[in-house]
Symmetry: D2
Subunit: 117 residues, 4 copies
């Protein structure tokens, strides 16, 4: 893992040579393509659910597909969260002060929402 | 969101030429339109997530949106499950025999998958 | 599964002196001993958590144990739910009428609470 | 509920003979008493479930109580996790190096287990 160079000033510059490229400000910038691919697959799962309903597929089979979609969304969330902890929360910890505390509280609240959903 | 216009051209017309359209064989047949509308809204949420990633929206805000999507999928699942219990499982109970037991076991397994996802 | 013979040595004797214990009125009555055994195991897990906190065990190990406890509670809930569907809900379906509908709505609400917890 | 008297006999002795007890090395050390109180309340809930099963309480009411217990366990986990992020993970971030990465990966895995449970 070359996560540590993330600590350096340029960390976020996913594509440094692109001058007008908006600096992805967040931890997940590098995985952007991977995230988008995942989300498109989830979108396909949701469209598959619509087809199943239209074609009167058996309820239980639809429920199985819903579970798969939910699981995929949560995997995406976990990956995003890991990058967030690794970058935003860690950076705030290094800065210290109330901002560090606030970042941890904010991340915990997000985890609580995931748990309740 | 232009999700709803997906409804207009035909979307719901699963079996257009069937005058006395056989009631879809499953419990959710009557709520079909409502289910499809819900699922299109969820599809819109997942597309919204892609936009958020593309526009480098703050991780925590994306996570909040993921929680909303997961919740929406689970509400859909619960509604489908309720209709399944009300029709398929109840009908099997009235018939009695091993089929009734099998239906309950199958529904419980589906609930377990939802809980674990 | 040889779960039932676990009941023999004493099954921790819920009400030992009651020879012809009246069958509890609910679906889970027959599995009572098994349920009580499960719940005592979960109680032991929660006491184990207290010991871990007292002995300053590493947070992550405590969290792993919490996950195990939550999973055990949910397995118990699923088993109870299955018996409820198999007996109370099925009986109401056979009776028919508004009571049947009410039972399904009630069970679905309970499942929703489990999903949200 | 006579949950609290569970605390009296000894409550497994929070700080028995150790006068200058070294502060537990982990983030949750300061909240120890609060955590133990919470866990004893959860233990009381699980004992309450046993009573409900013994007294043939209606299944749905038992399920409601299970949801409450699960929720309480997850609240405990979230609080522990927040302290863990605030102390152990933040400290590791300040130190930097592979240890920082390992702590984040470990915390994420724990969150994944909570989500799946």
């Amino acid at each position: 893992m070359t996560v540590d160079d993330a600590a350096s000033p340029a960390a976020e510059a996913a594509t440094p040579g692109t001058p007008s490229a908006p600096q992805g400000p967040h931890g997940y910038a590098k995985q952007k393509d991977q995230h988008l691919k995942r989300l498109r697959r989830i979108e396909g799962q949701v469209r598959g659910l619509q087809r199943m309903v239209e074609e009167d597929v058996y309820c239980i089979d639809i429920l199985t597909q819903v579970s798969a979609g939910t699981k995929a969304l949560q995997s995406f969330a976990l990956q995003l969260l890991e990058e967030h902890l690794r970058h935003c929360v860690a950076d705030a910890a290094i800065q210290g002060g109330p901002e560090a505390d606030a970042k941890v509280a904010e991340a915990t609240a997000a985890i609580a929402r995931l748990l309740r959903s």
